[in-house]
Amino acid sequence: MSDLQTTQEVSAAVIDALIAKHRQQPGALLPLLHAIQDTVGYVPESCYISISKALSLSVAEVHGVVTFYHHFRTHKPGRHIMQICRAESCQAMGSEALEAHAKKCLNVDYHQTTADGAITLEPVYCLGNCALSPTVVIDDEIYGRVSPAELDALITEVKVSEVKA
């Protein structure tokens, strides 16, 4: 419980600082939400009120923007995020099989996190890597021409990195 409170307090201070940094920008809401998610990992609903006050918006407007865009999350994701491209070019190169394989291996569906909290699986629609489909992104790394076997290797790599950490 005390841990949770500490996290919340830190978040509030961090978020206030980000608000102060971005509030004067024209069209500040998206840059601010990006900054929050980049820092905290997601956009906690608890910060809607302070954002709405700073930008003279209603809480509903802030909520509307956060939930309109696929990129923003309102809940803490797994320690790693795996995105699989579902767009046409990747489909032409077998992404459907790759998706099915990933869901089976990780035992999750899209927008879910593995039981150990390690990996959140997300769909994505085009990463501009269409010349080397199918494409997978893990955290900040992009991978092209990914076969199910290579996906297994990437998942193993994530697990190994977790053990080391």
């Binding site: 024209p26 407007e61 865009y69 994505v124 629609y125 501009g128 269409c130």
Partner: protein, 522 residues
């Protein structure tokens, strides 16, 4: 003597290990005591050969690829530093047939220069266009762009000069240049390649646009899926600001142009210009009614030029070499060149810039090398997820806006996605509706509701329920979406759906597109 070695920093090259190759190559050079300077260039666009490593020799740049980390030691053993032969040798880069046959105008520098080196940009004809533009009147800059015949490369193909002229004619204390870099169409990556491989050409194009219409602030609205492009752009903008190519006194002209990059947040519909403007204003990306046109009431209600990356990145060469030089390329009303992106199931996918007029067949087979799987190419989707599917019988169509329009198809942003004969076209039609449902902004009913109903009806057809009746229903629904949607998302989703149905009825369980096989036999 220092040897220059080029290893791309392009996202797709990184996706097949370019970073690891660069690290390994640097380490190997060091351990052998060789003086090697590694330059992280853009990609030449021959993606099946990535990671393509080039070395500068007296004869010119020599290429090797696809290079993996395990090949690095053997490259040094073979003395690649002096361009010597190796199993992965591709010869002189400029002599590679695939590249040599192209007409690279917009992509003239991509893969050649160091993307973030202003010095390198200037050494390769950079900023000549802006320097010429600063000597012209605003009206003459706009006239040059109009006379070049350049049409919006984002997909709508609206004449760029006409759009600029509208903004030029508006009286306002503030105007904006907005670059639409929300390249969300599957099968397209030319915007990304420019931003990662030659960001200064986009910056220069936007600056010229600003000078031409009297806008002092520019925004590049870039997809959040393009983190590498974002980083390169910001680095280049800093360099341009520092050297006086951006800022309050552009090249001592007394003119102001400031530029900022804004990240999108994963909404496909924000590639639509009015939705993009809403998003830049910090709102949900809801499509606006038109009129008013963004050129008259755009960002924050001010006159705004909204152009695609490729349109803006083509402006510098037009101002450098003249309207006629550019207009001499192309066919009919499609003037200049189109950077075509080959994608999907092709052996040799990559960037092919050619004058308008090449046929799909040339691109799929002469450049694309046929399917990657070795199976026959059955269908191609041109122009992104809202583009029509074309069957083999239409592969001789020239790439020209009007020729495609005649087939009830679109060129769009020039992306070509090939599918082999394992594709299920009913599934692709279903996907088109599903994608529309996921990405709809929700403002208009045909798109918001129609997309979901479309998925359901396709499911009934593939399940064999009342096929004739349900195919009629899909056509009726498509008609409503085509004519009743606010923007191209709902309005063009019927293109992939109906083209799949019309050209590949057998995948929907019917022998001709109107009737089900049961109905026929009955």
């Amino acid at each position: 003597m220092v040897t220059k070695v080029y290893i791309p920093r392009d996202s797709s090259a990184l996706a097949v290990g370019a970073e690891k190759v660069a690290v390994a190559l640097a380490a190997e050079a060091k351990s052998r005591g060789l003086d090697v300077e590694i330059i992280r260039n853009g990609s030449r666009g021959l993606y099946w050969l990535e990671t393509m490593v080039e070395v500068a020799t007296e004869q010119g740049r020599v290429a090797y690829g696809p290079v993996k980390v395990k090949d690095v030691a053997s490259l040094f053993d073979a003395d690649f530093i002096h361009g010597k032969a190796h199993a992965l040798s591709l010869g002189l880069t400029e002599e590679i047939e695939w590249l040599k046959k192209q007409q690279r105008l917009t992509f003239a520098r991509v893969g050649i220069t160091d993307p973030v080196s202003l010095e390198d940009y200037l050494a390769h004809d950079g900023y000549k266009g802006l320097k010429n533009a600063l000597k012209l009147s605003a009206a003459d800059i706009v006239k040059t762009v109009t006379d070049s015949g350049l049409r919006g490369r984002g997909g709508a193909a609206f004449p760029t000069g006409i759009k600029w002229n509208t903004v030029l004619g508006c009286e306002s204390e503030q105007k904006y240049i907005v670059c639409n870099a929300d390249e969300g169409d599957s099968g397209t990556y030319s915007d990304r390649m420019i931003m990662e491989g030659d960001p200064f050409v986009l910056i220069e194009g936007m600056t010229i646009a600003g000078v031409a219409v009297g806008a002092t602030q520019g925004y590049i609205y870039i997809r959040s899926e393009y983190p590498h492009a974002l980083a390169v752009l910001n680095e280049a903008i800093d360099a341009a600001n520092e050297a006086g190519y951006l800022g309050d006194n552009v090249l001592g002209s007394g003119k102001t142009f400031n530029l900022e990059v804004r990240r999108a947040a994963g909404a496909y519909v924000c590639g639509e210009e009015t939705s993009l403007l809403e998003s830049l204003e910090g709102k949900r990306g809801l499509v606006r009614f038109k009129p008013p046109l963004p050129a008259i009431e755009g960002l924050f209600g001010k006159p705004t030029v909204v152009n695609n990356v490729i349109s803006l990145a083509t402006v510098p060469i037009i101002l450098d070499k003249g309207a006629q030089f550019y207009a001499d390329y192309g066919m009919g009303r499609s003037r200049g060149t189109l950077p075509i992106q080959l994608a999907g199931n092709l052996k040799h996918s990559g960037l092919v810039e050619l004058a308008f007029g090449a046929t799909l067949r040339e691109l799929l087979y002469d450049y694309g090398g046929g399917s990657a799987s070795g199976k026959p190419i059955r269908a191609v989707q041109v122009g992104g997820p809202l583009g029509a599917y074309l069957p083999e019988s239409q592969f001789d169509t020239p790439l020209d806006y009007e020729a495609f329009a005649k087939l009830w198809a679109v060129l769009g942003h020039g992306g070509i996605v090939a599918f082999d004969d394992t594709v299920d076209m009913a599934k692709m039609a279903r996907y088109a509706f599903e994608f529309c449902a996921v990405e709809s902004c929700g403002k208009c009913t045909p798109c918001r509701i129609g997309s979901t109903r479309g998925v359901e009806v396709i499911d009934k057809i593939t399940a064999g329920k009342d096929r004739a009746k349900n195919i009629e229903l899909v056509r009726d629904l498509s008609d409503t979406m085509l004519n009743g949607s606010l923007c191209a998302l709902g309005g063009m989703t019927p293109y992939p759906v109906l083209s799949a149905l019309n050209h590949f009825p057998e995948d929907f369980g019917v022998s001709s597109a109107g009737l089900s096989s049961e109905a026929k036999t009955a």
